[in-house]
Amino acid sequence: MSTATTPAPPAGTRPMVEVRAVHKSFGALEVLRGIDLQVRTGEVAVVLGPSGSGKSTLLRTINHLEKVDSGRISVDGALVGYRRSGDKLYELREREILKQRTHIGFVFQNFNLFPHLTVLDNITEAPLAALRRPRKDVLATARALLDRVGLADKADAYPRQLSGGQQQRVAIARALALEPKLLLFDEPTSALDPELVGEVLAVIKDLARQGTTMIVVTHEIGFAREVADTVVFMDGGRIVEQGPPGQVLDHPRHERTKSFLSKVL
């Protein structure tokens, strides 16, 4: 996994995320049955699949919110949650895992904004705690991020005074405040009223245009077609097929992909 021994590959081809043979069970239920996935730097991967196919669990293993049972995951060349010594993986201490997570932004389906903090405090909390930057810089960055998601005037509002779409845009700004190398989105529009979906997708599209590396779990097929570099279709804890959207969405090779798409399109 060391990049020092091999010549650096050209930008855009270096893997940002590498998932190898990942298995994960909850009790008797095996939710991930051997996942292999690569996401290059600057790539947008959209993960589709029916409920219970393991897509959210996969996303949560990438920032170690869920531990894997076997297999390994690395982000930007570093193993997530473990240190390798010989042929063994040693689990990292929480402090080290937390440090790794500051490089990986996560956006939740239910926003999970902190309701007792203002919008601005929500965004500055992590940079102030984790990065130990001067307060003035952090505040300036936070205001710039709010402006970028179109909510510059909501800095002093509390989350519950905002619409769902506005809350999710704040959550995206909060994830961006740590300047992560990778952004993970777990069904970012599933909890929204239909008329609010567009404003959140617009922000994600904007990030994609600027070359942010992202993995997006979603049910929005139109969004996948427009933004994804790679579409990954999961079912029953496995990746059934993956490829460019034109291939997976328009000419799916697998029966299960075809039947899923026929139901959601």
């Binding site: 939740f108 902190f114 909390e125 992590a126 519950r160």
Partner: protein, 304 residues
């Protein structure tokens, strides 16, 4: 909606038939008058209150209560000194109890099995033991350990004191009440921590916030909404509960009035003195609780 009208009305009726008008009623105005439900319960309650007011009247006018004596002792130095002790003992015990209780609650919910069991055992023990028994136990600890010393384990003692001199009645009151309070506070705090959505903790973890910061900045402030009402209850309970220390001769509010009436035999008016002070302090605490609750409700609908 014409569709609904069609469903509700007789199909043979004319198009302008109003299905909501009873047959034979005069053509009503569009604004129909609304008659609220009769509040018979309210009138019954008022009658009962009137009866109670008559009892209060008898209480106030009955000379046997000796209201003059109440007024005479209400602000004497001895009573005020007792009130002072009751107040600072309440504040200290509640503060220490909640610090220890928060620690116990966090241990109880930690992933460390040993610490979890220790916390469970503590709460089990101190909730099972009557606080009066506990106070008497500490009061007699000198019989079990006549001397306490600091020294090298299994080696010579460097400093030795008599237990009786180290643990005066007030110290015993603080220790006993705090240990008791902490067991209850632990459950109140744990209830509060459980009331915070799991997603909040996950979001904090995903942002790389450390365990202490997660607790202090994210989880506890949200838990406070569920903690404050029962904690207010406990504070008021402790205020009155401190009167139990009168059994080990700590001069709190109750013990102070007891000292007077043992001398003068004016039992009822002096108990009224203590009661009125307890009521006054409880009322002030109630007002305080309202503002604390409002503070922790910030960011939620209906409280800005």
């Amino acid at each position: 909606m014409p569709v609904n009208d069609a469903v509700l009305s007789d199909p043979s009726a004319s198009p302008d038939h109003r299905p909501l008008d009873p047959p034979g009623a005069p053509p009503a105005a569009d604004a129909l008058k609304v008659v609220p439900v009769r509040r018979t319960g309210q009138w019954t309650a008022a009658a009962v209150v009137l009866l109670l007011a008559m009892d209060v009247n008898s209480l106030v006018r009955n000379d046997a209560f000796q209201w003059g004596v109440v007024g005479e002792y209400f602000t004497t130095t001895a009573v005020l000194r007792g009130l002072g002790l009751t107040l600072w003992l309440t504040v200290l015990v509640t503060a220490l109890g909640f610090v220890l209780g928060t620690l116990l609650a966090v241990l109880r919910m930690s992933s460390n099995k040993v610490l979890r069991s220790v916390s469970w055992g503590y709460i089990w023990l101190f909730r099972s033991m009557p606080v009066l028994v506990q106070l008497l136990f500490w009061f007699n600890i000198g019989a079990l350990y006549p001397q306490l010393g600091i020294g090298i384990p299994f080696g010579p003692e460097l400093l030795t004191v008599k237990t009786v001199n180290l643990l005066g009645p007030v110290t015993i009151a603080i220790i006993g009440l705090t240990l008791h309070e902490a067991a209850y506070a632990a459950e109140v705090v744990r209830g509060g921590l459980l009331s915070v959505e799991k997603g909040q903790l996950e979001a904090a973890q995903a942002l790389g916030l450390g365990a202490w910061r997660r607790l202090r900045r994210i989880v506890l402030p949200q838990a406070m909404r569920a903690i404050v009402p029962p904690a207010g209850n406990m504070l008021i309970g402790t205020l009155k509960g401190t009167s139990i220390v009168s059994v080990i001769a700590v001069q709190d509010l109750l013990y102070s009035v007891q000292l007077v009436y043992h001398r003068t035999y004016q039992v009822i008016p002096l108990l009224l003195v203590a009661t009125i002070w307890y009521v006054v302090v409880t009322s002030v605490l109630g007002v305080g609780q309202h503002y604390v609750e409002r503070h922790y409700a910030r960011g939620t609908a209906g409280a800005r």
